[in-house]
Structures are given as C-alpha cells and as structure tokens.
Symmetry: C2
Subunit: 198 residues, 2 copies
Amino acid sequence: MTQKMNTEARREQITGAALVLLAERGSEGFNIADLAESVGLVPSAIYRHFEGREDVLDATLDVFRDRVYGLVEAARNEAEDPLQALELLLTRHARLIESGGAVPHIMASMSAPDRHAARPAKTQKIFTGYVARVERLVRDGQESGQVRSDIDSTSAALLFAGMIQPAALLRHAEGERFDIMAHAAGVWELFRRAVARD
Amino acid sequence: MTQKMNTEARREQITGAALVLLAERGSEGFNIADLAESVGLVPSAIYRHFEGREDVLDATLDVFRDRVYGLVEAARNEAEDPLQALELLLTRHARLIESGGAVPHIMASMSAPDRHAARPAKTQKIFTGYVARVERLVRDGQESGQVRSDIDSTSAALLFAGMIQPAALLRHAEGERFDIMAHAAGVWELFRRAVARD
DNA sequence: TGTACATCAGTGAACGCGCGTTCACTGATGTAC
DNA sequence: TGTACATCAGTGAACGCGCGTTCACTGATGTAC
C-alpha cells in the first residue's frame, strides 16, 4: 500500500498534480485515473479527499488563483515602480509558461461551459480579478506620472492580459523552438511604447 | 422523416452548426446528439456524412480556417493601406465575437491535446498561419513607411493576435454588459501608438 | 513502555451512466426505359 | 407521361467502451489507559 498521508497534505499534493495535468492537456483531457497515478494512488483513493472530479477541479482552481494573484503581488512588491512591476509580471508569466505551467491554457480550458455552471463562472471571476489588479498597476503608473494619463486603463490592462496568451499557444505548437522569453521582451517593448509617457 | 438533402449540402449545414456549438461550449461540451438536433436530424444520421465525431471536428476546423483567413484577406483588399487593414481586421474580429462566433474560444478549446494528436496540430497550424498573415501586413506597413521600421514584426503580430483574446473571455463572462466594440477601439488606439511611425 | 481500540487513508472489484457508433430497415428521390 | 428500379439519406433500437463513482474490506497510524 502507498504511504498514508493525512487528508490536508494529500489534498495539496493532489491539487498540485492536477494543475500540472491541466496545463498539459486542458480540462477536457483531465481524468481521475491519470491524476491518481501521478500521485501514486489508485483512482478510488481520490474520493477519500474530494467529493468527485468537479470538486478536484474547483479546489485546483483555488490553487491556480492564489498562484496567479501571488505573481501580481510579488511583482508589485519587488519592483520599484508600477511600470517595472508590469514588466516583471510579464517576465514571470513567460517563465511560468516556459516551465510548463501554461496559465492561459488553463484559463481557456476551464472556462468552457458545461453542465456544472459553477466552474466557468469561477474561472471568469479569476480572470476579471486578474485584469482588475493589472488595471490597478496601470492607474498607479498614471498617478506616478510614468504612464500617459490620456489612455484608458482598462484597455491597457486587457492589452497586457492578451500579450502572453498567443505565446502560450505557440509554445505548445512549436515547443522549445519558440523562444518565449524573447517574445516577452519584444512584446513588452511595444507595450511600453504604447503606454509610457515618452 | 426530415427532408432529405444531398451529402454535400448536408455537410455544409452540419459543419456550420458545429461551429456555432463549438463557439458556445468548446470542444469539450460538443456532442453528436446536440449537433444532430441543431440541424433537425437524429444522431445516427450524422454518420451518413461523416466518419465520426473527430471527422466532424476536422471538417469544421476547415470551415473555421477559411473564415478566419477570409477575414484577413477581406481586410487587406478593402483597406487603403496596411495599418487601416489591421484596424479593419480587429473591428471585424470584434464584431464576429459580438455575434457569437467566439474565434479565440474555438481556437483554445480545439487545441487541447487528446488521443487524436491530429486536431491540436491542425489548430496550431491555423493559428501560426494567421499570425504569419498579420505579420505580413505589419511588414507591408513597414515598407510603405506607415509602421516603424525598428519594431519586430513577429512581436507586433503576436501582440495583435492577443488583443482580441481577453475580450472574448470577458464577453463570455459579462455578456451584453461588456462593450466589445468599445474595447476594440480602445485597444487599437494603444496598438497604433506602439507600432505607427511617430 | 506496552497493549487494545478507534480512526481513517488506501485498495480493488463492480456498477452504471453518457455518449459515440453500428446496423438492419424505411421510404423519398432521381433515373432508365 | 408513366412505371420499375436503384440509390441513398434518414431512422430507431441496441451495443459497448471509457470513465467517474461506490462500497466492503484492509491495514497502518495515532491515542487512551
């Protein structure tokens, strides 16, 4: 028998593994058998810790949210000004995708409507929360004078959110050949030119 | 019995209906029963015209590709210059999403890996083809002097491709409340500022 | 420190639902004469 | 113009696979005394 763990520790291990599987295959290809195997358990053992597949996805979405929001907070704290925070955030998103944690891929696949209306709604809420945080950074930049005051902060936030999405797709398509860090640098240069006060 | 149609006409009707369903629910929620019902047929009738579910998706992807590439061609032909073509393309993408043909949503859901490796690969090829066409417009703009020559055309093309993606997600999340045409206008202003000469 | 007991995570067999797919049959449509 | 026949799109019942889920059972772990 596999080593026993208390439910709390096991739940964390399982949601972590689920996040990896979701990044690889999306929610469509996500299944209990593979999830169980990836943590060295038998499928039915998952039900000791979760009510079912949808409950696993829900808990995994919580982990996902915390990580993504945590990325924004970290960038905000570590950077010296709002514009640098945005650059740092973009770089770290890129690095996350490079290491397999395909954030936009997860977002997209989890937001597909299905019988359980709860999951898509939650996913969308995570996304709007993310955009709101980025928008906050943009407005901070406007107040500090770094960012042009005549631009619409929502537009800027949505543009920012979209910068990394195509990269994740290409990363999946072309794999190692696609230099995602270089893409982030190139696209950041364009974004900076669009929003920075010359 | 439902009115008979020859296979060619029926195939077109079915792939058209499939595209609508995919935009609404993604490939995960796409099933033969609903597809058949949406064209007034019984599930087994689908098999008169397609080999199976995966074959329907494959054919639908062809329709999707033609429509998206057609959008780029139309914009190129109708606009007076490359930059205006890009603006026109963005506007039409937005209008397409507004009317329910959620392009990015389809892209994302179809690219999720699964047993049949063929579909994701095809989806990714459609996307890279799209990016290549946009990149071509950017380079045309550089040659005509409208677009700055010091920017990386690939970065610009990827930034452009990403502009509409978050909008599609928000459209799904907030529905009518989210003014996608206004978003397109706002984000275009930023893009133009990033790439246009002076 | 040792023993008895309760708790609870892990197991494997079995179940059953959803859904894609098959197949024999029907009857409408188009063609040959 | 009418009749006979061949073709083929549509039907509905049934099948079966994949996969999420249940359940009785096991045995490890932690606690009470």
